[in-house]
């Protein structure tokens, strides 16, 4: 029997790795990939709680999170492709049109 705290600790570690990736990397695709990792770390936590309570609500929420992650990936990549095609930008610190 795996204790619940193991799932929670693993989820927290993955969330922190993803958060560090989002905050520290310059490449916009790397930021999107790190966001995927953060969403998945929440899935680990949900599945751990679903197992602890023997309740399927956590797993249903994980499915919804996967749906939202698919939407996020599609829209984010569309934005990146149009930025890359029209302005040849990949790094987030070059995208400063709204900055003065």
């Amino acid at each position: 029997m795996i204790p619940l705290t193991h799932f929670l600790a693993l989820g927290a570690i993955l969330f922190l790795i993803g958060a560090a990736g989002v905050l520290m990397r310059r490449n916009a695709i790397m930021i999107l990939l790190s966001i995927e990792l953060m969403l998945n770390s929440v899935n680990v936590t949900f599945v751990g709680f679903a197992r602890q309570w023997a309740d399927l609500t956590g797993q249903v929420f994980a499915i919804f999170i996967i749906a939202v992650a698919a939407c996020e990936a599609a829209v984010g990549l569309a934005i990146l492709i149009s930025l890359n095609r029209d302005r040849q930008m990949v790094n987030v610190d070059e995208i400063n049109l709204l900055k003065w």
Binding site: L10, M24, L37, V47, L56, V60, V68
Partner: protein
């Protein structure tokens, strides 16, 4: 035995994610993330979420990550490998991430978790995880399910519009 496999999968996930965050080549990073997702599917089977493990492999590793790889190939990322990979603010960002770590540690350390319960079914029995999940998804969570499908439709149309249109200067 269960705990041993949990540690194996957890070590695989954490190792692959660390590899993902630190790669300069975006394609290598995406492939490391696929590896992390596959380990995560194993973890889901261990936690009694067999349907979610299948979805993880089919939708995440097979769908979303392939979309990422195709988009990476559409973009010109070869140049960015030789550029500086880390933000100028990255020291500050690392400090913020460590602060977040301390906060999560404090919240999780308070304890008071519920007693563990057993699933009412076993692996391979007929009213198993997939049937139970379908039952609950199409009755109790029908409305969120429909909202999720609308969200997917909106994201699909939005992605097509965004990627097709050219910005006129």
């Amino acid at each position: 035995m269960e705990l041993l496999f949990f540690y194996i999968f957890a070590a695989g996930i954490v190792g692959a994610s660390l590899l993902m965050v630190t790669r300069a080549n975006v394609i290598h990073a995406a492939l490391s993330l696929v590896l992390a997702f596959l380990f995560m599917a194993g973890l889901f089977v261990l936690a009694g979420a067999e349907f979610l493990a299948g979805v993880q492999i089919l939708v995440y590793a097979g769908g979303i990550m392939v979309l990422y790889l195709f988009s990476i190939m559409l973009m010109n990322v070869g140049v960015s490998i030789r550029l500086r990979q880390w933000h100028r603010q990255s020291v500050l960002a690392l400090a913020a991430a460590l602060l977040l770590a301390a906060e999560i540690w404090m919240v999780l350390g308070r304890g008071g978790y519920p007693e563990a319960r057993r699933w009412p079914w076993k692996l391979g029995e007929t009213p198993g995880n997939v049937e139970a999940l379908g039952q609950v998804l199409y009755t109790k969570f029908l409305f969120p399910f429909e909202v999720a499908s609308m969200l997917l439709l909106a994201a699909m149309i939005g992605a097509i519009v965004l990627a097709k249109r050219r910005i006129t200067r």
